[in-house]
């Protein structure tokens, strides 16, 4: 996982170094996969930006100065952990824009997991040790980004290949309907050799009351569906209900 992060960073340096001054090699941007499970708040990579208490993968809540202020964020009832949301730094994105390296800017624009806009958060225990992190697709993207957000599940599985993923597909619930002839309602989990676990929840469906076409007027409705993926990675011994 860490090796993959280093490779990603190396890729940026290589791409930018082609057209940029020497200072480009000093640029690197950590992401959520660079977080170190089992290490303290002060040992985590950074800097990230806009640290704030998380809301179970939703929009950020109260702003905090950094990971070391984890105790200011309330403990989650489900995991017993303190969630701190953050966003990625945009220095590389704008460096690439200034150098007219649009593909690099697109790749490093915003807070993304692969190419998917996401909300990321770190999960700390009461003693400030990182016990997990959370990656949830961000519904605030463009219509197209939202439509394909569920595909982050495929990317997430590819990031954790060291363990065997176990998945279960649920049938549609009452009032839920497919998008055209397609729906995904899948819950997956895997355990890695070190005992860390990953959980993945993927959804692509119309929820009750949602439809592509208004049943009364016949007008097309845009964005009335759920297309989401939610990834949680936990340190060994963490992640189950507490």
């Amino acid at each position: 996982m860490r090796a993959a992060a280093i490779l990603r960073g190396g890729g940026v340096a290589t791409l930018i170094a082609v057209a940029a001054p020497a200072s480009a090699q000093e640029l690197d941007r950590p992401d959520v996969q660079d977080l170190v499970l089992g290490a303290g708040a002060d040992a985590q990579p950074g800097p990230f930006r806009e640290y704030a208490c998380g809301t179970d993968g939703g929009p950020a809540s109260i702003a905090v100065a950094g990971f070391d202020e984890f105790a200011r964020c309330p403990k989650e009832s489900g995991t017993g952990l303190h969630e701190i949301a953050f966003r990625y730094d945009d220095e590389i994105e704008y460096y690439a824009l200034a150098m007219n390296l649009k593909p690099v800017a697109d790749r490093y624009g915003g807070t993304r997991f692969g190419s998917f806009p996401v909300i990321v958060s770190a999960l700390f225990d009461d003693s400030g040790i990182l016990r997990g992190y959370r990656v949830v697709t961000d519904d605030r993207g463009t219509v197209r980004e939202r439509r394909i957000a569920y595909a982050m599940g495929v990317f997430a599985k590819a990031q954790f290949k060291s363990g065997q993923w176990t998945c279960s597909s649920e049938p549609l619930g009452e009032g839920e309907t497919p998008l055209g002839n397609q729906f995904v309602k899948e819950d997956c989990s895997t355990t890695m050799p070190g005992g860390q676990t990953a959980k993945l929840r993927v959804r692509l469906l119309h929820r009750p009351g949602q439809a592509a076409v208004d049943p009364f007027t016949g007008e097309k409705r845009v964005g009335q569906y759920e297309s989401t993926a939610r990834l949680e990675v936990f340190d060994a011994g963490w992640g189950s209900e507490r």
Partner: protein, 253 residues
């Protein structure tokens, strides 16, 4: 002999005193306890996101420094060397950059509204989407720069050198270009409405689909430039040189 040694020691101390002073100021500046560091060597320093409003950095060496999203509003950067520095998205409103060297600097999306930059060097600077409204840029050397979609309404560029600048879709409304040299520039769809080009050189430039409404080109040299589909209502061309100009529609009086 002893007297000679004392003299040498005193000379050494006198020479090293400014260095020590500079080192102290630099350490305090980098530690964030001070915002002033005139004349300091801050090359390659990481100052991203730093609030340096009103800082005194006159004559400082900030070559290739990282200042992404830094706030430098009203800062004193006279004679500072910012060559190759990363100033993307910086706030430089009302900053004094007189005679500063910004060659090759990255200023994407930076805000330099009402900044003072007379005789600054902006050679090959990358100022795409930057805002320089009402900035004083008289005598600057901005040759070879990229100013795509930059906004400079009301800026002063008298006597400036903008040779081979790339500035498509930029906004130069009411800019004073008198005596400036825009030779070889690319200004596709750029807005020059109400600009003053009197006595300026606009040779070998691309002004296709640019807007020149009510611009003053008195005594300007437009030789070999392209003006296809440019908007020229109210343009003043008295005494202008127009050898081999392509596509320029001269309005009837």
């Amino acid at each position: 002999m002893r007297r000679a040694l004392i003299v040498i020691a005193m000379l050494f101390l006198a020479a090293s005193a400014p260095l020590a002073e500079d080192g102290t100021a630099r350490a305090a500046f980098l530690a964030g306890t001070s915002n002033d560091c005139p004349g300091c060597d801050l090359s390659r320093a990481n100052l991203t996101y730093r609030d340096l409003s009103g800082a005194n950095l006159e004559g400082a060496n900030l070559t290739k420094a990282r200042l992404h999203r830094a706030v430098l509003a009203k800062a004193n950067l006279r004679h500072a060397v910012l060559a190759g520095a990363n100033l993307n998205l910086t706030d430089l409103r009302f900053a004094d950059l007189s005679n500063a060297d910004l060659s090759g600097a990255l200023l994407y999306g930076a805000n330099l509204s009402a900044a003072v930059l007379p005789h600054a060097r902006l050679i090959d600077a990358r100022t795409q989407h930057a805002t320089l409204a009402r900035a004083d840029m008289s005598g600057v050397d901005w040759s070879g720069g990229d100013a795509t979609e930059a906004r400079l309404p009301g800026a002063i560029l008298t006597g400036a050198t903008l040779t081979n600048i790339h500035a498509p879709q930029a906004d130069f409304r009411r800019v004073e270009f008198s005596g400036a040299d825009l030779t070889g520039g690319t200004f596709f769809e750029t807005v020059f409405s109400g600009a003053d080009f009197s006595g300026a050189r606009l040779r070998d430039a691309d002004f296709r689909q640019a807007r020149f409404e009510n611009a003053d080109l008195t005594n300007a040299d437009l030789s070999n430039s392209q003006f296809q589909q440019a908007w020229t209502q109210g343009i003043v061309l008295d005494g202008s040189i127009r050898d081999n100009v392509v596509g320029l529609r001269i309005p009837t009086k």
